[in-house]
Amino acid sequence: MARLELSNVSKSYGAFDAITDVSLAIEDGEFAVFVGPSGCGKSTLLRLIAGLDPISDGAIRIGPDDVTRRPAGTRSVAMVFQSYALYPHMSVYDNIAFPLQMERRSKGDIRQQVEKAAGTVQLSTRLKDKPSKLSGGQRQRVAIARAIVRKPKIFLMDEPLSNLDAALRIEMRTELTQLHKELGATMVYVTHDQLEAMTMADRIVVLNGGRVEQVGKPMDLYHKPVNRFVAGFIGSPPMNMLRSKVKAIESEYYSFEAAGIGTIVIDGLAKRLKVGEEVVLGIRPEFLAPHPAGSEPLVKIGVVPRSVERLGAQTIIHSAIEGQNFTCVFAGDQAVEPGRDLNVYCDAANIHVFDAAGTTVGRN
């Protein structure tokens, strides 16, 4: 187990910068999740940590050691691939034993370690089978057992659940979290599924275009996104974004003219905005309610529901404001009819304000 530290890591393929100046530290025993849209460089970053690709610039430290120039396989890092990358010609036993055989351990020792790892992932009865005879979830477990058996300092996992069906994915999610607790290992987990990130991570690293947008605990990212990208990426359904302009400023009260809505008054902004400045107001769908509730100033928004999903525990209303999707999630079952005008309410304290550059305007 060890701490992982990246300092100013960059990677380019020819003229293309896949990773630009990434610095972050993942603490000993932490479950860190890299999340971001497709092509943002998650896999690339993982491969740099593993040593599968050389880095163009910067340094990587694992524990006290600078491993930047060390080849893969000598960094004490294990990786679970999205494709599992099981050796198809070897039995489950040999797949799990392979890393130990490469260390030239004794037969008895290997057998003991493999059986223990197989027990941990509940595969003790399938050791003689070839991977092709296993289900997706079982193959996944073999890949995990092959990683565990090496007792690595860091576990890397690249979208390990993406090939599984929805039910199995949720089950494996819990199992992986459990496994992390049991092993107390440092894990770096890649996903493009923000829900997976939210449920599993101690800390989330949001990547976009090869750069780190924000690092933080799931609830920090949810409540205090540093910019519009993170705000839009974390949370499901995504945050509603409203194009607006600063209309007037009266002491600490800011009035915004939101296209298609009207005036919205927000107080307690930390940064001085100028009258006439373009901003984006962000409202999470689940912070909208069908009745006025919460503290003043309250914001009232008129919408025309296009479709309504009544799920029992929630009611999801889809509408559009000025051509932009506008979604509301109400708690409980609400009898909302599509096509009929509806007023929804939101506590102004729950509205996020982003300046023209997309940076969050903080609160006092």
Partner: protein
């Protein structure tokens, strides 16, 4: 791969009309197949039970040709020579082909040039190649002995010495065939997912371990395929022997097919030659069946 096709599919009910038009489309191919393969094969089989020859009237003689064949020491020598040739060509060809493929699959400079050079012998006409090699092996003026004498070694009668001639033919065949093995192995190497190599590297495997534990086993179906086609091909060697040694010296390069040719067209014993041909055919059939069986089992 060519050998691993039709697995058993559920039988569908097809309308008479569809079946009929399917056969109509197949008909030209079937006719050609019948005339060029099936008809001669059946004729050969029938002939092998007769003593057909130019010299005397034809009689049906049952299994006499086969009984004679099993006691024929010349035929036994030809079988021995054929096995010598097959083993001598097949294994070195595969090993060299594999090594060349692995080397040229890497990002080494000039790999396209090397691939082309190694594959060129495959494209040369067999007869032309045999003529050139006959010159290379020529005992007095040949370049090979020229090189030997220059480095102070005694010149060798490559094709004239009964204990050297077969090996000389084998060397030429390896030169000609290993390009094929290389190309087939290269295709096989492309099919191995890169993930596996990366996983193996992370698992601490080095070059030799990766080669022996990942590359070689992942190529096993390609290897079986090559083994079978090389065995079947070398069993039927004829052209090089016809051009370079005519089966000599002292019958040391007389293979089954060359003896078949001699028996039929040299001694006009067509029936006896047909029996040899049938035996060879059955042997090749057995190897092909074993080959397809193994491949199919590996796929399952």
């Amino acid at each position: 791969m060519a050998l691993q096709n039709s697995t058993s599919r559920p039988i569908k009910t097809v309308s008479f009309h569809q079946t009929w038009s399917a056969y109509a489309f197949l008909a030209p191919a079937l006719v050609i197949l019948f005339l060029s393969l099936l008809l001669p094969a059946v004729a050969t089989l029938l002939m092998s039970f007769t003593d057909v020859s130019f010299l005397k009237p034809t009689n049906f003689i049952g299994f006499d040709n086969y009984i004679k064949l099993f006691n024929d020491t010349r035929f036994q020598q030809a079988v021995g020579n054929t096995i010598h040739y097959t083993v001598g060509v097949t294994f070195p060809t595969m090993v060299l082909g594999l090594l060349a493929a692995v080397a040229l699959n890497q990002n080494v400079p000039g790999r396209i040039a090397f691939r082309t050079i190694f594959y060129l012998p495959v494209l040369t006409s067999l007869i032309a190649a045999a003529v050139v090699w006959a010159y290379v092996y020529e005992p007095y003026a040949g370049p090979l002995n020229g090189v030997l004498t220059r480095v102070g070694l005694p010149p060798q009668p490559w094709l004239q010495n009964p204990s050297l001639a077969m090996n000389s033919l084998i060397i030429m065949a390896i030169w000609r065939d290993f390009g094929t093995a290389m190309i087939i192995y290269l295709a096989g190497l492309q099919d191995i997912p890169n993930d596996l190599y990366e996983a193996a590297r992370l698992d601490g495997a080095k070059g030799k371990d990766i080669f022996l534990r990942i590359t070689v086993p992942m190529l096993s179906s390609v290897t079986f395929y090559l083994l079978i086609i090389l065995i079947v091909q070398t069993f039927q060697v004829f052209g090089a022997i016809y051009v370079m040694t005519q089966g000599g010296p002292l019958g040391s390069t007389e293979t089954v097919v060359y003896q078949m040719y001699q028996t039929a067209f040299g001694y006009t014993e067509f029936g006896y030659s047909a029996a040899m041909s049938t035996i060879l055919f059955l042997t090749i059939l057995v190897f092909s069946i074993i080959g397809t069986r193994i491949m199919r089992r590996k796929d399952a």
